[in-house]
């Protein structure tokens, strides 16, 4: 199993820094995801690790081996590309065997290993087909098998599911995760889809504009986002700006919001400091009527949108001019349904509020 270390990688395209000094460590055997909006540099970083792109500064290490001068064809990594990059002139079997032939494996061994890899990704019986005869999901399995069969030190996957429809995406996602666990192969996975990242990863690194903002377990990123960008990117977050006041019990401090509400939240920060507090939509409870002030941490408003999705109702509530709050009410019964125009009160438990530094510095 391979441990990957990325040390101070910098890459510029022209004057634009695509990677602005990134250091990371990927533990042996884990599935590590780089997630971020398009243009954040995640694919660039992946290509540098693969050796398909040269960095301007910094190093990539596989265990103790420095890879910077090693060309991509000697790095022994499996890469799965967004566009599949299937060899259209070769059969499925020949595609899978391609890397083995390059390694001069004996024909008997190749046949056996191709069959084994085909079985692993559920492609039995399709080995003689041409790629053009396969569906998108099958093509994705071919390139996965092709990357795995060479027993790479490392598996790199660049948005492997983005060309599939929603149902197949979940199916192949489970397959990838199962195969990765079975082979215990260190995997770096790139996606712009935060839900996919949460579902598949051991560890996630959130990237923006060439920097890593936070690294952590999926639940760490969701429950304790390090800053506003991470909070917005992973899931949905209602953010309130306010000023810290004294005079509360325990870890909690009083916070006066920009629109005059007084809350108790776990606010670090000296009295008078200006901070942001985040509350997830599902952390909010909703009651009819305007009862704010009767309990701590509540706010009143009017429902402006209500999307009934069955298991959940998503309400948009205007609590102040220009400030809308999103609230998800799970498992709603008849009595819990509110309509557009209804006056409502929202409240949340102090422990579910998240303190959010404004700047990206705290990564």
């Amino acid at each position: 199993m391979t441990r990957v270390q990325v040390q101070g990688i910098v890459k510029r395209f022209g004057d634009m820094p695509a990677i602005d000094g990134i250091s990371l460590e990927v533990r042996p055997g884990e599935l590590f995801t780089l997630v971020g909006p398009s243009g954040c540099g995640k694919t660039t970083l992946l290509r540098i690790i693969a050796g398909l792109l040269d960095q301007d500064a910094g190093s990539v290490l596989f265990n103790e081996d420095r890879m910077d001068e090693v060309p991509p064809y000697l790095r022994n990594i499996g890469v799965v590309f967004q566009s599949y990059a299937i060899f259209p002139h070769l059969t499925v079997g020949e595609n899978i065997a391609y890397g083995l032939k390059a390694r001069r494996v004996s024909p008997d061994r190749i046949t056996a290993k191709v069959a084994e890899a085909g079985h692993l990704v559920q492609l039995e019986g399709l080995l003689d087909r041409m790629p053009s005869q396969l569906s998108g999901g099958q093509q994705q399995r071919v390139v996965l098998a092709r990357a795995l069969v060479i027993e790479p030190r490392l598996l790199l996957m660049d948005e492997p599911l983005s060309n599939l429809d929603a149902k197949l995406r979940v199916q192949i996602r489970s397959l990838i995760r199962a195969v990765q666990r079975e082979l215990q192969i260190t995997t770096i996975y790139v996606t712009h889809d935060q839900e996919e990242a949460l579902a598949i990863s051991d560890t996630i690194a959130v990237m923006d504009r060439g920097r890593v903002l936070q690294v952590g377990k999926p639940w760490e990123l969701y429950l304790k986002p390090a800053n506003r960008f991470v909070a917005d990117f992973i899931g949905t977050m209602n953010v309130f700006r306010g000023r810290v006041e004294e005079g509360a019990a325990g870890d909690l401090r009083a916070l006066v919001t920009g629109f005059g509400q007084r809350w108790q939240v776990p606010a670090a920060g000296a009295p008078g400091a200006s901070i942001s507090v985040g509350v997830r939509p599902e952390s909010l409870a909703l009651e009819p009527g305007a009862n704010a002030g009767e309990t701590w941490n509540s706010l009143t408003g009017m429902v402006t949108e209500a999307a009934y999705l069955g298991a959940v109702v998503r309400y948009e509530v205007r609590v102040a001019d220009g400030l809308n709050v999103t609230a998800d009410i799970h498992n709603p019964d008849f009595a819990a349904i509110r309509l557009v125009g209804d006056r409502v009160t929202l409240w949340f438990a102090a422990s579910r509020a998240v303190l959010l530094p404004d700047q990206a510095g705290e990564a």
Binding site: L52, Y73, I77, A85, F87, P88, Y98, A147
Partner: protein, 549 residues
Amino acid sequence: MRGRRRDLWWTVTVAAFLTVLAFLVYPLVTVLVTSFSGDDKRFVLAANYERFFTHRYYYSSIINSLYLSTLATLGALLLGTTLAFAVARYPLPGRPFLRAAANLALLSPPFIGAYSWVVLFGRMGLVNRILGEFGWSLPTIYGWRGILLVFIVQYFPFVFLLVSAALRSVDQSIEDAALSLGSPPRRTIRTAILPILAPSLTAGGLLVFMGTMADFGTPMIIGEGLRTLPTLMYGEFMNELGGNPAMASTLGSLLILVNTVALMAQRYYAFRKAYNVVCIQPLQVKRTSRGQLLLLTVFAYAVVIVALIPALTIIISSFMPTKGPVMYAGFSLQSYQTIFFRVPRAIANTFGLTALAVVLDVFLGVLVAYLLARRRSRAHAILDSLIMLAYAIPGTVVGVGLIVVYNRPPVVLTGTWVILLVSYFIRHLPYPVRSCTAMLQQIDIRVEEASVSLGVPPFRTFVKVTIPLMFPAIISGAALAWMTTIGELSSSILLYSGPWATMSVAIFTEVFSNHFGTASALASILIVAAFVPLFLTYRVLGERGALGV
């Protein structure tokens, strides 16, 4: 990649630059410089140009050339576009035949087309002799009318092919949208369809204009002394009284100037008018009234039959008994027997040199195309433009340039077969380069990266993955290069010497010595030789297409 800058591709870049500089740029620059030299080889600023523009004998050539090429371009655009619309949009009977026939019309080199019209309508021509029995006669085919006829008939298929391809990329929704917004059908074509076709229309027009400007054989054969830039240039250079390279170079420089201006104008225009068209459902075939359909059918078949007449005339007349320019009814292999006795060398030369040139074109073309598509840098952009220069430069100019440069030490190539090979090679290099570059732009670069990541080094990846994927483009580039090289006349006629005459040269001299039967036999072989690879290409690519490659 790091530390590997001076790899194989660096060598290819340097080799390609040296080749293009030595065989294209240096000769052209020499022509330009020579046009400024006087009789005693001193530098005389613009004296030759002054002489050109003050003597009617000279300046009439550029007027004739511009006049003929402009009319031919307009005629070919009108004919080619109308035919393309008729075939694409209306349920004409036999549409596949019409398309194939328009393709086939490209197979005979223009000068052979010119010659075929002489065979039919010339003074001793078949038609005129039949009419003569009844005491009738037709207006003369010689002179500018004949040239114009041949130009339009020989070059309109370029417009047809380009416009047909462009029409296939126009989505039906464009027309539907225009019609639904209240635009009548004619106005819809004018305001919604034609603007989308503008880049293809102008590209087709450019091909016709540059091709007819450079055409040497057609005016020689059917022009009867009408001076155009290439014929006058040839005359000045090969004059029996010693030749005047300075004046020939002046004419050549003007020819380059006219073609370059036309090329730049089209590039500029097409660049500004290029739209990204997304085509999901191509334009549909329209229903129309019986009368209109009949009219269109007659028109389409008339055009296509006229376009096929040259090839048919040549092949049929090659099997007729002949005496000088006069052909008699009947069947005979006499002409073929004669050519195998008289000019066997020419046949061998043509096939040998063409094959060699095509192999070299494909070899360098594939490597250069890869550079242009994958290693785009400023140097490669320059290389691209230099190679494409070969499109715009007439064969006569290349021929004169090569002779002027390579008839003196340190490298003497005149009098050898090498100089013919050089001309064929450099002039047709753009075909494989173009076809392969276009193909590479459609091949996902990640496929190559996948191969590299699987442990295959870059050059082996190129051989094992890229070349197989480029195969269709390699074949079609080679077929195009073969087709255009095999009947090449304008530089061959200058560059051949003694035993190295080619079939095109032999046809030319046979026509001028009134041996029409042997000329037809040679031309028939040329037409068939051009046809076979094209036919095979369609077959092979059809199969590859089925694989989805």
